[in-house]
Structure formats: C-alpha cells, structure tokens
Amino acid sequence: MFEVNTVLAFIGLLVVIALTFLLLSKDSKMNSLQAAVDNLQRALDEMDEQAKLVVRTDIELNKAQEELDRKITSLYTLQKLSRTISSTLEENQIFKKVELSYLADLGFQKALAFLFDEKENKFSLRLSLGYEEEEAAKIKTFIDAHKETYNGLIHNEKAVSSIASRENPADTKSTKETFGVVSFVFAPILAKEGNPGLLFVGAEKTDTIITEGDEELITILANQIGQALENARLFEKTWQAHQDLENRVEERTRELSRALEEVKKLSQRKNDFVSNVSHELRTPLTSIKGYASILLSGKLGVLPEEVGKRLAKINKHSDELVSFVNDLLDLSRIESGKVELKLAPLNLKSIVDEVADLLAVQFKEKQIEFSSESPADLPEVMADYSQIKRTFINLINNSVKYTPQGKIKVSLTRLDKEVQVDVSDTGCGMPESAMDKLFTEFYRVDSVMNQEIKGTGLGLAMVKNIVTAHKGKIWVKSKVGSGTTFSFTLPQAY
C-alpha cells in the first residue's frame, strides 16, 4: 500500500513538474507571440504612417500633374482659339469665335467681354457665354453703374482675379454674387487702335481653383483678342482707304472719260474744220492752177521770160499746196474713221520694190544706196494696199530728206502673228527729246537742217494713223549723227 502511494506521489510529482514545465513553456511562447504581435502592430502602424506619406506625396504629385494637364490643355485650347481669332478680320466676328467649348477646355463656364467707348463714356457688351440674355443685361447695368472701377481695371493693364491673396479693385464678394461665379479672372483687352475693353471669365464649380497660371492664360487670350481687334480695325481702315482710293480712281476715270469725250468732240470739230477748209481751199487752188497752166501753155500769147518764171513758181507752189491740202484731208479722214480700209492679203516685199522704183530717181540724185531685206517665207499681211504704199512712200521719202548721202534699208521680219517693217537710214538722226512728239500733226524737229528741208509735219502723223488703223504699232529709234530707224508692225494675213 505504501509502495502504491509512493508510486502515485511520484507520478503526481512528475505530472506537476511536467505541467509546470508546460506552463512555463506556454508562458514563454505567449510572451514570444505577444512580442511578435507587438512587432506586427508596430509594423502595421509604421506601414500606416508610410501610407500617409505615400498619400500626401501622391496628392502633391497629382496636383502638379493636374496643373500640368490643365496648362497643356489650356495652352492647346489657347493656341486653337488664337488661331481662330487671328484669322478673323471683322470686329464682330472675333467675339463670336470664342465658343463655350473653348471656355470649358480652359476650365471656365462663363465669359463676358465689354468694350469701353470713351467718346460715349459707356461699356458695350460684345460677348456673353453661359449667361441668359437677362442675366447678361443685368451685369452690364452693374458694370455701367461701377464704370470707374471697371474702367480702372482696363487702365491698370493687369489681370485681376479671385485669388484670395491678390488685391482686387473690384470687390471680390460682390463680383462673385453679381456674375454668379465662385472664382473669376478679369483681363484688360488692350488695342492701340480703337476702344479698349475687359474680358471676364468665371467658374461656377466650387472645386475650380484659380491660379496665377489662369491669370496669365486669360491675359494672353485678352491680348490675342486685343490684337485681333487691332488687326480688324486696321484692316477696316485699310479697306476703307482702299475703297476711297477706288472711288477716287473711279471719279478720276469718269473725269478723264468726260475729257476724252470733249477731246474727241474737239478733234471731230477740228477734222470737220480741216475738211471744210481744205475743200474750200481746193476750189480756188484748182482755178489758180488752171489759170497758171493756161498762161504757161502760151495759148493766151507768149509770156515774157520773167513772167513765165513767176508763173512756173505759182504752178509749182500750187501743186505743193494741193498736195498739202490732200494730205490734210486724208489725215482728217483717217483720224475720223471716214476712210474705209480695203483690207486684203498683201506681199510687203513687192510694195517695197514698187516704192523703191518710184523713188529711184531721188536715190540717185542724193547718191543714196537703197536696199531691202526680207525672209523667203515672209507671210502676207492683211492691209489696205494704197494706204500701206503711202506709208512706205512717206517713211522712205522722209529718210531720203534727212539723209544727205548714205544708205537706206528696209527690213521685213516675221514675228509671231505680225510682220515688222524697219526703215532705217544713215542720216542726220534726231535728238531723243523730239521722238515723243514726232508723230504729232504739224510737228517738225527743231534743227538747222530742218529749216532748209521743206515739210508740212503731216506725213508721220498720217503714217501713224494708217498703222494704228491697221491695228499695228509704230515707233522710232534715232541718234543724232547716226541715223534713224522707223519701225512698224502689221498683222499677218493668216
């Protein structure tokens, strides 16, 4: 029994020892677990603190990113808007180009623009976005009532906004209430030409934060509008000046037309006069010449030698006078269009040859070497034979007169649709100052030689009229002492 009790006591002791050991072990484990939990809690708290840092850093980054995005979007919008505005040259259209969608991209929902008329001392509303008509009218009344304040904003030449830290000449609170916005920017519209103005943009969303960047953007936009207004006004001025000029040109043209009509009338009267006088002159001249011829023929008796000489002179001068009167008449007829040109295909070369034969005696008398030059394929011209022959006679005769000794050459050249005729001589030539008036009626070059050479001053005028009547051109090149070249063109026949 004792042994059994001893064994049981021993076992009990062992159990107590084991339990104590277990308890101690568990306690140690608990302590260790508690330490781990504490560590975990600390780590969690630390992680939470780090999370706070992460969030705050993220907020800053987001803010920067958002600002950057806004700036990029705003700049992009501003660029689009500027391009649209600057392409407009009509003052009223400039404000219509500012649309609500652009405004939204700039981060605003409302906009107004006023121009200040300094003469009338009042504002005029030019742009209203995001407002009903009544609302805009009410705001305009408010602006007019506080003219000095808002005019001051223009003359300050600086943007003002609802940024709290900024001084704002326009009371921020009353502006917000009147314009129905939470935040806003005013920027002056400045233009060198014409009336200045004020651009207002506002945001009605409470989360819109106005920054200095917004002030700058709206200032740029207002400047762009100002620049566009200036351009439009300058364009308007230029256009007006252009219109004035056009009106003046038109008026002057009318005056010139009237003068031309007058000149035509005078010219007609002159032609009529010349024609009448010529006819009146021809009748007595014919009688004079007739009587002179009868007397010279000796039918009325032999005349004393001296009388015969004088009569021969009367006869010769009568011939010259008849020729002069005929020239005058022809000139007058051609000028007034009374001469009907009998146009036909003509071979100029053969006309030149005919004229050369006609004037051969004169060439010989003055020891003039005449030549002509013409390509084999020279086309025919469409012209009046008798008038063109007269032209050649006049021009070559002219050369003969002013070429005491030398050469005269007629060259015929084929052009694109015309034939060019050059009559050149190696004569005395003429000064440049004479050339402009050379084809004017009765004009004769003022020179010593000319005083000895007879002429009416009608030949070249007639030549010019004939060439012009054929739709050709005539001109002259000359150098004193080196000779003269008369050139004219005639249209090809085909």
Binding site: A51, K52, D58, I59, D69, D207
Partner: protein, 403 residues
C-alpha cells in the same frame, strides 16, 4: 444571329441628331424592317424632347431604352456632346422587354424593385430569362433593397448589371428614355431572355493602402464613425488636411482616394467615394456601407486604372465563353455595352483616350457603345458571382452580348 447597327451624331439640334444617328444605324442593319430594341445614350446637354421626336419619326413602335450622361463612349471617340443609338435585331428565340418604375425617391426601394421586375416579366412566360440591365437617373437610397425587391420577383441571385447616371451638378438635365418618353426619378430596365449569351466584367484598379479600419457606425450611405472616431478623421489622418479644407475638397479628393470596403470572399474591394461631409464628421458616400465593415483607404494610378479596364474586358470575354451566364449557344455576332465611371474620366484626364484605345483593343471586332456614369451596378467579381449585386463607384464595367 444578332443584327447590330450603331449610329452617332454631333448635331446641335437634337431632333436632327436623333434622325442622323438612327439613319446611320439603320443603314448598317441587314434587315432594317426588323428592329427589336433601340438603345440610346446622349450627353446631358441634349434636349430629350427633340430626340424623342426624332425617334418617333423613324422608329415608331420599336422599344427604346437609354439614358443621358456626362459623356458618350464610342469607337469614334469620347464625346461630351452627342447622341448615339444602337439598333438591335434579335435572332429567333431571343427576347427582351423594357419597362420602368417611377418616382423611386418617394417609394419604398424594395417595392420599387419588385414593381420593375413585375413589369419586366410581363410577356416572359415560358421564356428563360438571363440578365437584367438597369439604368437609374439618380442615386437611389436603399439600393440593396431595390435589388432585393427586384430579385424577389426575378429570382434570388438573378444577375443584373446597371448604372446610375445622376447629374451631380444639375439633376434636372439627366433623364432616362423609355419608348417615347423621357423620364426622371426612375429606374428603367431591360430583361433579356432566350437564346443569348452574356459576359460581364467589372474592375476598378484601386489598391488598398494603410491599415484596415472598422466602420463602427453607419446608416445607409452615411458613415458616422470609423474605429470609434468621427469618420472624417480617416481623411484628416491620411491626407493631412483639416476639416475645413476637406469640406471644400473631399468630393474631388475622394475620386483619387475612395474608401474600399472589404467583402469576404472577394478579391477586389468595393469602392465608395465621398460626396460630402455632414455634421460631426460623418461621411456621405455614393452607395451604402454596412456597419461593422472592414474598410481601407484606396489609391490608384492611371496605370492601375487602365489595367483594370483591360482586366474587365478580359473577364467579360472569359465569362462569355461559359461560366457566368452560360446558355450554351453557338457564337454568332456580338456587341458590348460599356460603363465607365465619370470619376475615372476625371482621374485619367488627358489619358482618357488611352482607356478608349484599350476598350477598342480589348473588344477588337465587337461593336460597342458606352456612357460615362456616376455609379455602376454589378457583382464585385463577375467570374465568381454568388448572386450578390453591389452598387459600385469608379468602376469600369462591360457587358458583352452574343446571339
């Protein structure tokens, strides 16, 4: 085989715009005489009355459903102004019905859901129903109850996806289309049935940050306290802003840093963005949140956001081939409807075109139409759908329909 035509117009005149879009869509149909459904999305600035006149002129008795939203998503681009229509001709054996429940803010949400389900089920006798597509024109109080009421009639765990399109700045401009009416304060829905196959994908791309917290007091969509402290402190602590600054900026900040609600068994957190701060620092969320929920502050980058778009499309395509709404139909033609949160639009900013490019790349030859939304309705992970539908914020969801 589904007959699909999509039309789009940027015309300012809504009547002419609707006409132009419908004509474009009709021209793409194989049989323009058989149109079974017209889906419409337009931007908020469009006049619904004008658009409806356009629909009436060209579509007559075709069922119409749609909504206005902040921007439209189409393969031609993302447009803040425009109207888009999708005309559908169904193959034999495929059905749909459109209906709406109105004045939802004045009614019991559960009853509203039941009412909509009853209307949708009319004419669905002996036809297997597959999926509900819902449009809300405003944020609904008691959203889970609405879904519960809907599922009470349509079937427990009946799959639904949808979207809320409330215009936060001007609610009077948002509207829903139902046949020849523009309606407000409503939920309009389509019930699909018969021989059509569906694939749904939904992802957001936000990751949890910091330690988990517990919602110690919440009612509906208002979180009063987190970890026994005023709920606003979570933002004060993490963002380092005081209450005044948060009152002004939290709505915008919570787009980037929403609250993520841990849902047991789900890999993704359910996002809740904060709309406003109430007295005593309570946070008003877009969508309800349960008391006792484990929440985390969430963070994302444009990259994770965009990766989510690709993942959602991949998930929808995977589901289409079988697991979620399996019908065993031979593949024919298909189209997709995409919903992307306006928060993503605001977050991605200039990178928003990248999301469109990813949608195009992911859907390839599948024609699609979509709209930016203010909230989405879907299972958290469509691939492991267990009958629970949630209201989401900031998600990208895609529904691919094949028939």
């Amino acid at each position: 085989m589904l007959d699909i035509g999509i039309g789009f117009s940027l015309e300012d005149n809504s009547f002419l715009a609707a006409e132009e879009a419908i004509k474009q869509a009709k021209n793409q149909l194989n049989n323009s005489e058989k149109i079974d459904l017209c889906l419409v999305f337009n931007s908020y600035d469009f006049s619904a009355a004008g658009a409806i006149r356009g629909f009436n002129a060209l579509l007559r008795d075709v069922p119409i459903i749609g909504a206005s939203g902040p921007a439209i998503i189409s393969d031609k681009g993302i447009f803040k102004h425009g109207i888009a229509v999708m005309l559908l001709g169904f193959p034999d054996g495929a059905y749909c019905r459109v209906a709406a429940t109105r004045d939802i803010s004045e009614k019991n949400p559960f009853n509203c859901g039941k009412e909509l389900a009853e209307k949708l089920l009319l004419g669905f006798k002996n036809i297997p129903r597959n999926l509900g597509l819902l449009f809300f024109d405003q944020q609904i109080e008691g959203g889970p109850n609405f879904i519960a009421g809907l599922q009470d009639n349509l079937g427990r765990g009946f799959p639904c996806i949808g979207t809320s399109l409330s215009n936060q700045y001007d609610p009077s401009h948002s509207c829903l289309y139902l046949n020849n009416e523009a309606i407000n304060n409503s939920c309009a829905g389509i019930l699909w049935g018969g021989k059509t196959t569906f694939g749904v994908g939904i992802k957001h791309g936000w990751k949890p940050l910091g330690k988990p917290h517990t919602v110690s007091s919440a009612v509906g969509n208002i979180i009063n306290a987190i970890d026994g402290k005023p709920a606003i402190e979570i933002y004060e602590n993490y963002l380092g802003y005081d209450a005044a600054k948060l009152t002004k900026d939290l709505r915008k900040l919570s787009i980037s840093y929403p609250i993520g609600v841990f849902i047991p068994g789900e890999k993704e957190y359910l996002l809740r963005s904060v709309v406003s701060i109430e007295q005593r620092g309570a946070l008003v969320c877009q969508g309800s949140i349960l008391e006792g929920s484990t929440i985390r502050l969430m963070i994302s980058t444009p990259e994770t956001c965009l990766a989510a778009t690709t993942q959602a499309i991949a998930e929808a395509k995977k589901n289409l081939s079988g697991s979620l709404f399996k019908q065993g139909i031979v593949r024919n033609s298909r189209f997709a409807i995409v919903f992307s949160s306006i928060s993503r639009y605001n977050l991605l900013r200039r990178d928003i075109k990248k999301e469109l490019n990813l949608i195009k790349a992911g859907l390839k030859d599948t024609r699609f139409l979509g709209i930016y939304t203010s909230g989405e309705l879907a299972p958290i992970t469509a691939g492991s759908y267990r009958g629970q539908i949630y209201f989401h914020n900031q998600d990208f969801s895609v529904l691919i329909i094949e028939g």
